[in-house]
Symmetry: C2
Subunit: 400 residues, 2 copies
Amino acid sequence: MIQVAVFGYGTVGSGVVQVIDDNNELISKRVGDQLNVKYILDLRDFPGDKNEAKVVHDVNVILDDPEVAIICETMGGVRPAYQFSKDALMKGKCVCTSNKELVAAHGPELLEVAKANNCSYLFEASVGGGIPIIRPMNTSLAPEHIDKIMGILNGTTNYMLTKMSREGASYDEVLKEAQALGYAERNPEADVEGHDAGRKIAILASLMTGKTVSYDDVYTEGITKITARDFEYAKKLGKSIKLLAITENTDAGVTAMVAPFMIGADHALNGVNDVFNAVYVTGNMVDDVMFYGRGAGKLPTASAVVSDVIECARNLGSTLPCIWTDEKVEVIDFKNKERKFFVRVAIDKRGDVLNQVGPITEIRVCDEEFAFVTSAMSEKVFEEKISKLNGVLSVIRVED
Amino acid sequence: MIQVAVFGYGTVGSGVVQVIDDNNELISKRVGDQLNVKYILDLRDFPGDKNEAKVVHDVNVILDDPEVAIICETMGGVRPAYQFSKDALMKGKCVCTSNKELVAAHGPELLEVAKANNCSYLFEASVGGGIPIIRPMNTSLAPEHIDKIMGILNGTTNYMLTKMSREGASYDEVLKEAQALGYAERNPEADVEGHDAGRKIAILASLMTGKTVSYDDVYTEGITKITARDFEYAKKLGKSIKLLAITENTDAGVTAMVAPFMIGADHALNGVNDVFNAVYVTGNMVDDVMFYGRGAGKLPTASAVVSDVIECARNLGSTLPCIWTDEKVEVIDFKNKERKFFVRVAIDKRGDVLNQVGPITEIRVCDEEFAFVTSAMSEKVFEEKISKLNGVLSVIRVED
């Protein structure tokens, strides 16, 4: 019997208990030993809950119990999760977490503590909910020099953009709907401004480089300026509009950004809709691979935590490999990157466009304005050109 | 230094050597020890090849060298690969293979031999080329009761169907083109009749159940009857036509089949085009996940083999978990499965359709015929209805 404790009996934590209980027979078979949730740590009591008797309020009850081999940290937030995780690892207990804030802030240190104590710190659920991505990065893609990662990493914004696309609704309308359904927070900033996706791409960029890409160095642009009109053009072009988190690792250096993009119809990310998320990885040998699934939700995220628990249970007494040191990566400006841009301009500025940009193919969906897609050029050159143009209504980067 | 030998210096084998050589520094860092290809086994000589000196013709030179810890078996075919693999495993050498015929025929036995000798038999590259799927099934999806797997598992047919869809070309035309480009064999039967995809879904179905789903029990229908006209309708319906390999694991039992399907525009498999492949897995906790990438090709497939080599190198002296016994799964008839069907009928049989099927929504792309999509019904019921109908031109199953 392998004893597990769950820190935090919220959405994900109660999901973890449910996955371990409901699929206990097959999980135990695959581990080769039975898994059992012995404790649940939470400040609250849960009278009437079937796991009421497992709830404890003092973390030391769990840390001092030598029977507990694996902790699921599903509390969220840096404090007190950081100290609890560190203390558990120092006692040789594996920690499996869904806590992206903590992983982004203290990942390398906690990996180091785990290594020193012959146990593991795993965080599959911290990026992409139920999508297997962290373990594939550490194992399946271990032969690769990863050149680029593009992710749709936030369920809320992808739900909103899909809805705007399908229904021609405005940003404000879909935000209200998403809030009513519980898909968006009352204060939606972390999602709609791209901060959540930024934290996740910082983690993936760190695994890509083996060093630390700081979240503060990720350029972030949200979806608040995207309009129903933009989607009219996107439809006409056969493209979709997605909030992409992108990191690249080229000879020039490492870039990291979050911004809305128009994506071509033939790109695999084009069809990632609703609350689904996906991570598109390009390696120098395997070329393109994509991992797709539910980016959030109780049971999908819990399943990712439990997959880590199973790996720990199969490897008790040793440390599962993950190369991520605290050496900081100097993130370079992405503005040298060449790409195409979608631009909307007021109809009376046609002449200016011809002078500044040259001949373009005009796209029309209404009388007051027109749009065009530029040829590939660096952001720097584009910004220079566009700064001299009056009547620009909207600019969206293009990824074909 | 960890010594590796490659059995078979063909496309995939030479790719394995290239991946290990070109990415040696980063691979060695991720393993924690240097990987080196010491031998290449092949009947041929390779004068002028930079690895000429590593080529040996006698397998025993390799089997008797205690320095060799890991074998990459990229020979293909059951004989002599089966005996060579078994002999290597019995000497405690790990074997990593891209050989789907051998895995489908002797997987459970070779896994058993590996276990008895504290080494591993891994076969990531045997299904889906560069797509990470076998390891995610064994690790990331270990908490799941897998209900269903749907795969686009054959690069040749997906290339052909994509081309037919985009260019309105006929089956014969695109087959000739695919043969000229080397994407299809001169004798294309294994691909176009679905046998290759059948072998791969048998492997995935076996991992899903932990027992053996025999390839002989997979119902197989190819793409040879798909016409340019079918694609005209598909386009009108916003659907694509794909060769799907499907296995389901329900209370009623396990089904396994390969057949062309019309797939709805919103399904993630809809956008899997050209030589890309994908595996769509539904678990009882994680819901839907999809793995996408190049289903064949020298370096993508080699990368999958090397990812296995890295796992072995990190775990020398132990056996990596994979539950697949030789207990045979009784595959049940899929004809009780309810689904929709796309049907084309000659224009003068309208009355018959109304009598046999009831009112339908007619789809027209030309004068001589019409088509419709049925409501969901079992294959049995559908076959009964359709057998009474004259003038049926084509039937394709629908997956929304």
